[in-house]
């Protein structure tokens, strides 16, 4: 490995921190952002119509009172778990490889959680009263019902959102300072100057910053686990066959990490390509992601298996009926779809060449993202459309408005994420430098 030299540090800064100041492909970016805005508008229209005329605009009914809204809520939140988890884990294990991935992984988390958080609000029958979910002094002297999984979710999601945001922000401050220092336009100087809070890299600051950052990471990991465990209780706390399984919390957490890593892989491949970050987001990073994906995938598969096993072993007739509906019922496509999309392409990751090849990794990630969506959908719909009483069996077919909101929600995710890519350092440059200094990150070429 070549000795670290000032040039190396400067190169890193140039590669990362020039992007916000002088973005390489403004036109392509503008097109993408425009597209994202179009989706965002769709979201507004869908939600507007729903608020104006009522939830009846959706496909929900009795028995399936929840639909895509709630399964998407879980799906988005799941994706939102990878960022914080991956970056915290790698930080604590001291792997310097995190530095290339952590930043945009966290950003993804942030925006995914926002999307997730929106769903429970818009799915309310009387959304204008959403604030009754929060405790506050009121003239009714009625407070939230804290035994309800929804009340737990309310706190869990808010906490998770705040923590991820702060974790991400203090991580980005030093790089914002770097951008500030390279900025030449006045507005950029002011903008980044304010965002970086006047960071000047003082050794004293670094010391405290480092403590705070690691502490937050330590706390973030159990938080991630707790949050998705709670989400799983939204189902598991009910008495409905197919939901009462005790395997749900770990099952959901792993599934969440799984889907999240999948999306991280997709995003890193795209950014790496679009922003020419090949020598920062190296094959070794992709390899790491591939392995994580494989590992969590296999654990999720275990969850699937143990659920089936529990049911067969327990032998409860209602549970068996639900299992039958899953594999052979009206919505069996969602079960088999999930199974196939999640675990079949995944097996390629046993071979390194598929892990390090960006596009195979991207496609596998895509497959998993879709597969996990199908799984969430299956868990919700299959259980509800046929519960105990045969006489109250029904169906569920999402309406065009639900799809519109779903597609729009992707815009809600992309629009801020693109802004992040455009105006903020997507890679943790100072950590790369630190790694170079420690000699962990030799510079090829």
């Amino acid at each position: 490995m070549s000795a670290p030299s000032p040039e190396n540090y400067a190169v890193v800064t140039r590669e990362v921190d020039t992007i916000p100041i002088a973005y390489p492909h403004p036109v392509i970016w503008a097109i993408c952002f425009g597209a994202a805005l179009v989706l965002f508008t769709l979201f507004l229209i869908g939600v507007g119509a729903t608020f104006r005329y009522g939830i009846g605009m959706w496909g929900n009914d009795i028995p399936v009172g929840w639909g895509i809204a709630i399964s998407n809520y879980i799906w988005f939140l799941g994706i939102g778990h990878a960022g914080t988890l991956i970056s915290a884990l790698l930080l604590l294990t001291g792997t310097s490889r995190r530095n290339a991935l952590s930043r945009f992984a966290e950003a993804m988390t942030l925006f995914a959680v926002i999307c997730a958080g929106l769903y429970p609000l818009i799915h309310l029958g009387r959304p204008w009263l959403f604030y009754w979910m929060a405790p506050y002094p009121n003239s009714m002297t009625i407070e939230p019902q804290f035994r309800s999984p929804l009340a737990w979710d309310f706190f869990a999601v808010l906490t998770y959102l705040t923590v991820s945001a702060l974790f991400w922000y203090i991580g980005i401050i030093p790089d914002l300072a770097a951008v500030r220092d390279r900025a030449r336009k006045r507005w950029q100087q002011v903008f980044y100057g304010l965002l970086s809070l006047g960071w000047r890299g003082s050794a004293r600051h670094w010391a405290r910053w480092d403590e705070a950052y690691r502490l937050t990471a330590v706390i973030a990991i159990p938080l991630v686990v707790s949050v998705h465990s709670e989400i799983s209780l939204l189902f598991a706390a009910g008495p409905i066959p197919g939901w009462t399984s005790t395997v749900f919390p770990p099952y959901f957490v792993l599934g969440a990490a799984f889907s999240g890593f999948a999306v991280v892989s997709m995003i890193s491949v795209i950014l790496r390509h679009a922003l020419k970050l090949g020598d920062l987001v190296t094959e070794r990073h992709l390899d790491l992601l591939g392995k994580l994906l494989l590992a969590t995938g296999l654990m999720t598969a275990y969850g699937y298996w143990s659920e089936v096993f529990d049911t067969l072993y327990g032998g409860d007739s209602q549970e068996l009926a639900t299992l039958h509906d899953r594999i052979a019922g009206e919505y069996a496509w969602s079960y088999w779809g999930a199974l196939i999309a999640n675990f079949v392409p995944l097996q390629l990751l046993w071979w390194k060449r598929f892990r390090v090849n960006p596009w195979s990794l991207f496609l596998i990630g895509l497959a998993v993202a879709i597969g996990m969506w199908l799984e969430r959908y299956m868990l919700l719909v299959v259980t509800l459309y046929r519960d105990y009483l045969v006489s109250s069996w029904g169906h569920y077919h999402p309406s065009v408005w639900e799809w519109m909101i779903f597609v729009g929600m992707i815009g809600v995710f992309l629009a801020p994420f693109l802004l992040f890519v455009r105006f903020l350092p997507v890679i943790s440059a100072f950590e790369v430098k630190a790694a170079i200094f420690k000699g962990e990150e030799p510079r090829h070429a």
């Binding site: 002297t141 500030r180 100087q189 002011v190 304010l194």
Partner: protein
């Protein structure tokens, strides 16, 4: 490298941050005040009525009993407003052509009801029953205030759920002899509670009133 910000920038930044925090806190307090203000509860607000009826005159000065006009109060949920002919029982004799009373005579002549604007209003999802409150000795004044001192009738209490619950959680101190419910002035009770010590408790025992059951939701919401 030149400074991006002037020395005073920090001061201003801190001022702004503090200002935001301050604004949020004050804003919340202010919102709370608005909601509990008479603007939203309408306490003490006078509403235009077809006839400027004075309870002060009829109750306070003439001493007419509430039940003479609000005949339903003991037998039904609603206290009921008096029919026009009830007004005319007297006003066919006195003030027979007072301009003020023209709408009343008109109502009788054309057989068209008087259109009063409610002063004491409850939402449609709240079911209040006068008869049981009267039967147990909750005096009119508790909810309707010193009606006998109101030249124009106004709402005396907030009628917010909290206010209802205050009493339903602890009715005893508000209970009075049922035969005196229409009495307006209870100052002697209010000033010397010791003289009537245990009266409320006695009533509650006599009628097996369990205050924990008085806060069941379906007591008011059906």
């Amino acid at each position: 490298m030149p400074q991006i910000f002037t020395a005073s920038a920090d001061t201003r930044l801190r001022a702004v941050l503090f200002g935001i925090v301050f604004a949020v806190i004050v804003g919340m307090l202010f919102l709370g005040d608005i909601l509990s203000s008479t603007y939203s509860t309408r306490v003490g607000w006078v509403r235009d009525q077809p006839v400027p009826f004075s309870h002060k005159h009829h109750v306070g000065e003439l001493g007419i009993d509430c039940r003479y006009c609000h005949a339903g109060v003991e037998i039904g949920a609603e206290a009921t407003l008096p029919a026009t002919h009830v007004c005319m029982t007297c006003h066919s004799q006195i003030w027979t052509n007072a301009a003020m009373l023209a709408p009343v005579r008109e109502s009788l002549a054309q057989n068209k009801p008087l259109l009063w604007h409610r002063v004491a209003r409850l939402p449609d999802y709240v079911y209040f029953n006068h008869s049981i409150h009267v039967a147990r000795g909750v005096p009119c004044v508790t909810c309707h205030g010193r009606i006998d001192e109101m030249p124009l009738t106004v709402q005396a209490q907030t009628f917010q759920m909290q206010w209802c619950l205050d009493c339903h959680r602890n009715p005893a101190p508000r209970l009075r002899p049922a035969d005196q419910v229409t009495r307006m002035d209870w100052s002697d009770w209010d000033h010397h509670p010791e003289r009537h010590d245990g009266f409320g408790e006695a009533v509650m025992q006599a009628h097996h009133i369990d205050s924990t059951k008085l806060i069941d939701c379906d007591v008011c919401h059906r």
